[in-house]
Symmetry: C2
Subunit: 267 residues, 2 copies
């Protein structure tokens, strides 16, 4: 079992002190509620609605920069795994949209988003490697970022490499469809069920320079049932105690196996 958390928090792109305070409070709440792993939104501290490419470059940092230092301090202070997002210097003309996995205050892995959404293609360089599968105190964690969840191949790949918890920082824009949860929530639930992994998505919430982030963060168990969330439109900390060890057993019925049932003779 492991206690997992998603911090659904806003960003104030023009007030980093405020943003850091909100994030720190959310992580403290998660830890106080027993969380051993805490997932934060995509590009957690720096925001993402940038005026131009100059602004994205200006916000880029190395993994030794202040954003990751902040995640490391939170990890150390609260004794939790932190999965957070930051804008990473690439050495190329556009930075990476990255996520870091931190445990015991140390950086265990950096992942660079491989599937970029819309104007992200103007601001970022896509990563050139699939997500790492990172041993942590809560089991093997695979960081995915937002639109990556729309590519089942990524989930299949990390599941095959032993991922137990898919930890996904996200920024999901709100839609005007009044009738339904966002399809992104369905994708998270479906990918958990399809590949028998725990999925934790932390989405941004609230406005950012005219974009509304929907919230809808969700924690899904290995059968695709939601264990916490989604809750829309409000700052919130989701916490769930889940059997992450169940993700290592891909036998999903007496006669069905997640990988064994794939018709590799047909696709």
């Amino acid at each position: 079992m492991a206690v997992l958390a998603a911090c659904q928090v806003p960003v104030d792109i023009d007030d980093p002190v405020k943003t850091n305070r909100v994030v720190a409070e959310a992580v403290a709440e998660a830890a106080a509620r027993g969380a051993q792993l805490v997932v934060l939104p995509e590009l957690t501290l720096c925001g993402s609605i940038w005026r131009d490419v100059a602004e994205s470059s200006a916000r880029a940092e190395p993994v030794t920069g202040p954003s990751v230092a902040f995640f490391r301090a939170l990890s150390r202070e609260h004794g939790v795994v932190v999965v957070g997002g930051f804008c990473e210097v690439s050495g190329l003309d556009r930075p990476y949209n990255s996520a870091v996995v931190v445990d015991d205050g140390e950086v265990l892995a950096v992942y660079r988003k491989t599937h970029l959404w819309d104007t992200e293609k103007l601001h970022f360089t896509p990563g050139d490697a699939l997500p790492p599968v990172v041993p942590t105190r809560v089991g093997a964690v695979a960081p995915l970022i937002c639109y990556d969840l729309a590519f089942p191949e990524v989930l299949l790949d990390v599941a095959r490499r032993g991922a137990q918890v898919v930890a996904s920082p996200a920024n999901w824009p709100d839609s005007d469809n009044p009738n339904t949860r966002p399809p992104e929530v369905s994708k998270a639930m479906a990918m958990a069920a399809t590949y028998h992994v725990v999925v934790v998505v932390a989405d941004r919430v609230g406005p950012e320079r005219g974009v509304r982030w929907v919230g809808g963060s969700v924690i899904c168990d290995v059968d695709g049932f939601r264990a916490a969330g989604p809750e829309f439109g409000a700052t919130t900390v989701l916490v769930a105690d889940l059997a992450v060890e169940a993700a290592l057993d891909k036998q999903i019925s007496t006669r069905n196996h997640v990988f064994g049932d794939r018709r590799t003779d047909l696709y």
Copy 2:
């Protein structure tokens, strides 16, 4: 645009006359509400909770048998495409779990389920071909059957071959999880959004020899939003008028394309 329907109906495995009447009434209601395509549950008329292999063989029919004749008559009478399920003679020791696509009273295609769930492996021979993509009056229809929806490779394949409507007969057992919709509904919504296709799932509802079928049939638009359903536990006919032509355009944002965004350099 096309008006699509899912008939969420029970089966009485020991009373075929009653089952046929219930199905006929549901199809008539769908047609009266404007449906041009009607999807029926998996193994629509014959049921699936069989006592032994002898019973499954006894219920097998050729495509020229009474089940498909019934679907053809409904198609002709109401001027609708019918996608229904039946137990098909295979010439092997176990029959196929098949679905047929009928338009204008004629059989356009037969699909044999390629991914079998649990005890189905005792009763059926798996099919050896992925679903056909069948031109009909409502556009290109791909019949999938139930557990096939857990394999994104199948959806990707039919989407690439031009499928606009994924029509899935299903039998979803109920779970005891009180808190949430079944993961199968999430899979339907997620697959619609991920591959930008309309998905229509017709699930069985009610008891069958001690198994409870959950219902939860759903019609999803190409963005993965539910256009009708899910409704649990009751006989119902879902109808939705959807832009099936939108499924032919895989450009999902100014800079994103369902197929083009796949990182074929990485998987």
